[in-house]
Each structure stands twice: as C-alpha cells, then as structure tokens.
Point group: C2
Chain length 108, copies 2
DNA sequence: CATACTACCTTATAACGCAAGGTACTAAAA
DNA sequence: TTTTAGTACCTTGCGTTATAAGGTAGTATG
C-alpha cells in the first residue's frame, strides 16, 4: 500500500471509530488494520496529538488479559473536527476522481 | 484543503493527465488546480523526480507567449506506475469509505 | 520603463507514518 | 520454573512529500 495515501486520512479514520464508541489504542490498530495497513508506531503519537489538541479525553481500565488499557473518548471538539474532515475527504475524493476520469474540457 | 490528503495523490493526478497527452509543468498546475489546490513549488520537484525515475521524458518547445515550455511525455514505465497507482487508489478509497460507514462487525 | 503574465526553477521548513526498538502484564507450554 | 506468546503501552530517528517564499527570464501592454 502507498504510505503517502494515508497521510491525514488516519486522523479521519480514528476520529470516525471514536465517534461510535470508546476504543483503546491497540484496539484501534486492530480495527483499522482490517481496512488499511497501520502500525502501532503511528497510532500512539497520533492519539497523543489528539489529546493535546483536546479532541479526546482518556481513562484507564484494567484488563484480564494483559496490562491496563487506555481508553480514548471523543470530545465535542473532536466531534467537530471529524465533521469537517469528513466533508473535506469527500470533496477531495470527488475532485481526484473527476480528474482521473478526465471530466473536464481540456483547452488544448 | 487538508494538505496531508494530497500526499502521494498528486503523483497519480499528474501521471493520469500525462497519459492523455503531453503537458508542460505550468499547464499541469493550471489543470490540476481546477480540482485540488496545488502550487508550483510542488509540481517541479515532482516532475524532476519522475524524470530521474524514468517515468517521463522531456522536450523543449518555444512559445509565443513567454519563455520556452518544457513538455513531459509519459514513458512505458510511467504508464505502468500509473496503472498500479490507480488500483491502489481505488482500493484505498474503498477501504476508508467502508471504515467511515462502519461496514464491519465490531467485536465489542 | 514599469507592470503583468507566462514559465521555468530552488531552498528551507513542517507534517506525518513507520521501522525498530523498549517496558510490562498474563497465561500457557516446555 | 523458565520460556514463549500474546496483549498493551510507549519513544526515537528517519524518509517522504507539499509548500511557502523566493529567484530568473521571456513576451506584451500601458
């Protein structure tokens, strides 16, 4: 997979998942990996960024199967960022697809 | 527009345009700008990269309206890169859209 | 001759994903 | 009981790419 495609899109993916329920980091990696390749080294810095930007709050919960899990909960600000990103993503994809299909009058 | 979205996609856009006819750099900026924001500082380094990777060949042509134009012509290797990038782009967008729609069994 | 447009180019900077590493807990296998 | 595997957290350094901001020249117009 083209690494570059992911730039900026992973933000959108993470925010979208968090809009449905709280997730812990490792779980986000597992779920997103079903659709696009992602590594842990990517997700943890991203989540830290989200927290310092006020997009998420966190809380710890113990686990039966390993170390405690740090859950991430979407804030109102994060919700707003998600809404905007979704719109941007859609119009971006539309623009690229129009261009790829050659949907334009070429003045050549 | 989210700058990050563009990473890697501009390559695809440029190769796609060049698959239809030869373009000069300035012209590529004008055409792509109709769909997604792009600046000259982006396109020229990218075109140089394409040339050193053997994706394009170039030739000069004089112009009535300004300095000579450097045209870019897609090579066979560039064509192959385009084909692959198109496939990757499509499956990437599908993956992201599936994730955004929540098209998956969440084992929560 | 000054401005605007065309058309080429370079340099320095910022953002982001990832490989590669590390820590530590639980549970099962050897 | 030691080792291995799986879960779960984390950091550092690196490479790639887009851009802003600048520069050089050519043509044409006022």
């Amino acid at each position: 997979m083209n690494i570059q495609f992911k730039k900026g899109v992973l933000e959108l993916c993470v925010l979208s998942l968090l809009s449905r329920r709280d997730y812990y980091g490792y779980e986000l990696v597992e779920n997103i990996s079903r659709f696009i390749e992602i590594s842990e080294g990517t997700i943890y810095p991203l989540l830290r960024r989200f927290r310092s930007d006020g997009y998420v709050t966190t809380y710890l919960e113990e686990s039966q199967e390993g170390p405690p899990r740090k859950y991430y909960k979407l804030s109102k600000k994060g919700r707003e960022a998600l809404d905007e990103l979704e719109i941007e993503w859609e119009s971006f994809v539309d623009g690229v697809n129009d261009l790829l299909r050659g949907d334009f009058d070429d003045k050549s």
